[in-house]
């Protein structure tokens, strides 16, 4: 199914408003000391996490939810499941992600045509990333930078250095890019294009497309498994999830859904998360108001958990004990207890919650 094409990033059509740097920043690769610092800090986080596991104490993480219509972030404590505060942000915030150091939240402010950088401590917007128009989803390299931003309006994946906020490259992809997944080894970034219906595999060193894999209609989200061997892509209009073997770049399984009493046309997968141990996957089914639970080894759908209305995105707590689901039409998040597969709580948010990201500590 896949066809191979190479598209050079430096030959993109000129963008007068964007940063002048269209080429990979040579400085970027030489700053190896930064990697060391980052690796050390990652190790520190890991050690801290292990410590908490060891003591068996309940971990309190901070959950950030973007409210698409509320133009705000709702901040929730994962232990008390109480709303801590609400932070006003730019217009139509959708995709959000904490930086690897946990100090900033990157927010796709779609109607402001920018990615805002929110400082968690001061709760202020400290920078804007040059995203191009209408950013919707983003992802961050495992090393902490760069940031990969899907620009739906321009058929581009914009790659931005987080420290310098400079554009490293823009990669031309299919029509309406949306989902952005990054392989755990950081070597591959995948962007899904909603109207072209492909998962584009891009080499993070050369910024070249290496493979294009056709998937079901309107692919919205791409999630690598923790072992890096598979990529899960949700197709909203097709009502399916495609599992792609990352070695062969072939679709090895197309997962379908069947909820009694719900017409097939309303089963619209969006957010996807796979547990770190690779045993279970969770898929948000949009207007079907369910989160599907899938055996990630056999690909059998085991259960459908009833959540709020129009469920969009999902995020695990780092201990993988809780899964938060944003419900766009009922203005709340559902909290799923992962070991028991029960929806344990609904927490009211701002208007039209969309994205969710959770702190590592």
């Amino acid at each position: 199914m896949s066809t191979k094409t190479s598209i050079r990033s430096e030959s993109m059509r000129p963008r007068p408003s964007a940063n002048s740097s269209k080429r990979p920043n040579p400085e970027y690769k030489t700053k190896s000391w930064e990697y060391i610092v980052k690796t050390l800090s990652l190790l520190a986080v890991l050690v801290t996490t292990l410590f908490f596991y060891g003591t068996g104490g309940a971990d309190a993480y901070t959950v950030y939810v973007s409210n698409e219509k509320g133009n705000s972030l709702t901040v929730i404590d994962s232990e008390t499941l109480q709303v801590l505060t609400t932070i006003p942000v730019g217009q139509r915030p959708r995709g959000i992600m904490l930086t690897k150091d946990g100090k900033q939240v990157l927010i796709c402010a779609s109607d402001d045509d920018t990615v805002q950088v929110l400082d968690v401590a001061s709760r202020e917007i400290v920078a804007d990333l040059p995203s191009g128009p209408d950013p919707e989803l983003l992802n961050i390299h495992p090393s902490g930078s760069p940031v990969y931003i899907a620009n739906e309006d321009d058929n581009l994946l914009t790659i931005v250095d987080l420290e310098t906020t400079k554009v490293l490259a823009e990669v031309q992809v299919g029509v309406e890019p949306e989902g952005v997944g990054i392989s755990p080894d950081g070597k591959t970034v995948v962007v899904t294009s909603e109207t072209t219906n492909m998962a584009h595999f891009i080499d993070t060193e050369t910024f070249e497309i290496t493979d294009n894999v056709l998937v079901g209609a309107r692919p919205r989200f791409a999630e690598f498994t923790a072992d890096g061997k598979h990529l899960w892509v949700s197709s909203e209009v097709a009502g399916t999830v495609s599992v792609i073997d990352t070695a062969t770049r072939e679709v090895v399984k197309v997962i379908k859904f069947d909820v009694p009493g719900v017409q097939e046309i309303y089963l619209q997968p969006v957010g996807v998360r796979v547990t770190k141990d690779g045993t279970k996957a969770f898929v948000a089914l949009g207007p079907a108001n369910r989160v599907a639970v899938i055996d990630a080894k056999t690909y059998e759908v085991e259960d459908y958990l009833l959540v709020g209305k129009r469920v969009w995105q999902l995020a695990f707590t780092p201990d993988q004990k809780l899964l938060f689901a944003t419900n766009g039409n009922s203005n709340d998040v559902s909290v799923i207890d992962v070991p028991t597969l029960k929806v344990v709580k609904s927490i009211p948010t701002g208007t039209a919650p969309w994205g969710v990201t959770i702190s590592q500590d």
Binding site: P133, G174, V237, A238, G239
Partner: protein
């Protein structure tokens, strides 16, 4: 067409053209035609409703761009050639020119009689026509043709979509005012059918006789202000006035001028349509942005209907990895066809009459109000098939 080709080549970076070491084969070519039969339209009452010169064509062109962006990854190239047939011209000759030059997929933007003549002219040939404009029910019923797929909704779908919303709103008593033209009668018939299907009651029907003359003039507003209250006076108790005025003779005069303070729907006021320039649900914002940047105007229903037709061809070519008529035609009509069209669910073609199955937008002038099918109007297979002619009632024999 050359412009489009140039644009496409412009998008291709020179490096990529030279880059692949393995000799890249010539892209598969898919030629699409657009046949527009010009018609003598009366000047609309509102200058906001003047039809753009590139109505429909701009939608097809933006879809061509979308197809060619995808084609960069599938090694396929799509072209679009437009044949404009002047009033009194020969549409069949124009279609033959397209077919003879290798166009097996042709969008037809023409009234029903022309569409039928074209379909019959290429009967038995490997040519698939897309009806992107004609809303006549008969084209999906007794006059259906196997070589025609309809991306334009017919008035039965539009009337059903509107009726569902009005019934959901509990505005179930309708005063129907229709014009004198055959298409007005056809629209009125669709409204009657919808009322019966969804439990509304037509309390009275009135006919508005056309008074020929200049449609826009310095005087006249005063007269209309006097005439329309009188015309709608002494009606039985009703909830909503439904206008059946396809040629826009009097419909836009009705809102705010009825004797009783009642909303107006139908061909004026609250309307049912396949697309609205302010529709932004289900990712439509991106479609609107990219269309407006391209065409320097708002996207109208016929643009979206043409967009769907070209995208259907592109999607089938991408899925079948083919540029040939056989696989593309079979895929579009087949069970695995699914197209994302910013309508909240996939759009597909009904097997019994070739009509595109699609949700319908209910909208006022500035904003969409709702999308039908409405909740609670259930169908054994797909709720969207509660709109228009369903399989059990079809008179179409393909």
């Amino acid at each position: 067409m050359l412009g489009c080709l140039g644009l496409f080549l412009g998008l291709l970076p020179p490096a990529a053209l030279a880059a692949p070491p393995t000799t890249k084969s010539e892209p598969t070519l898919v030629s699409i035609g657009y046949l527009k039969q010009e018609v003598d339209d009366a000047i609309p009452l509102s200058r906001l409703n003047v039809k753009p010169h590139d109505l429909g064509i701009a939608g097809a062109k933006i879809a061509l761009r979308d197809n060619n962006t995808t084609g960069m990854f599938t090694n396929q190239k799509f072209t679009l050639d437009v044949e404009r047939v002047p009033v009194g011209g020969d549409p069949v000759a124009a279609l033959n020119r397209l077919v003879d030059s290798g166009h097996q997929f042709v969008l037809v933007d023409a009234p029903a009689p022309v569409l039928l003549a074209l379909a019959d002219a290429v009967k038995g040939k490997e040519v698939l026509l897309f009806n992107v404009s004609a809303d006549d029910v008969r084209l999906r019923q007794e006059d259906c043709r196997v070589n025609v797929l309809h991306t334009a909704p017919d008035i039965a779908m539009l009337a059903d979509a509107l009726a569902q919303y009005l019934v959901w709103k509990k505005w179930q008593r309708w005063l129907v005012v229709s014009g004198v033209f055959p298409e007005d009668q056809a629209y009125r018939d669709a409204i009657r059918r919808a009322a019966k299907r969804f439990g509304a009651k037509i309390v009275d029907e009135r006919e508005y006789e056309e008074t020929p003359g200049a449609r826009r003039s310095d005087t006249g507003q005063q007269q209309i202000q006097q005439q329309l209250p009188v015309f709608t006076q002494a009606a039985p108790a009703y909830d909503v006035l439904i206008a059946a005025d396809q040629r826009e003779v009097f419909g836009p005069y009705l809102p705010f001028r009825t004797w009783d303070p009642r909303p107006v729907a139908g061909t004026a006021g609250l309307k049912a349509m396949s697309w609205h320039p302010a529709h932004e649900q289900w990712g439509a914002t991106q479609m609107q942005n990219r269309f407006q940047r391209f065409a320097n105007r708002f996207m109208l229903p016929r643009d979206h209907q043409a967009w769907i037709a070209v995208r259907a061809i592109g999607e089938a070519a991408s899925r079948t990895q083919s540029g040939d008529y056989g696989p593309i035609d079979a895929h579009i009509r087949g069970d695995s066809f699914e197209l994302a069209a910013f309508k909240g669910q996939k759009v597909t073609f009904r097997k019994w009459d070739g009509q595109l199955r699609q949700p319908i937008i209910i909208a006022g002038a500035e904003l969409p109000v709702s999308t039908s099918p409405q909740r609670g109007f259930l169908h054994e297979h797909e709720d969207v098939d509660t709109l228009g002619i369903d399989a059990p009632e079809t008179k179409c024999k393909l």
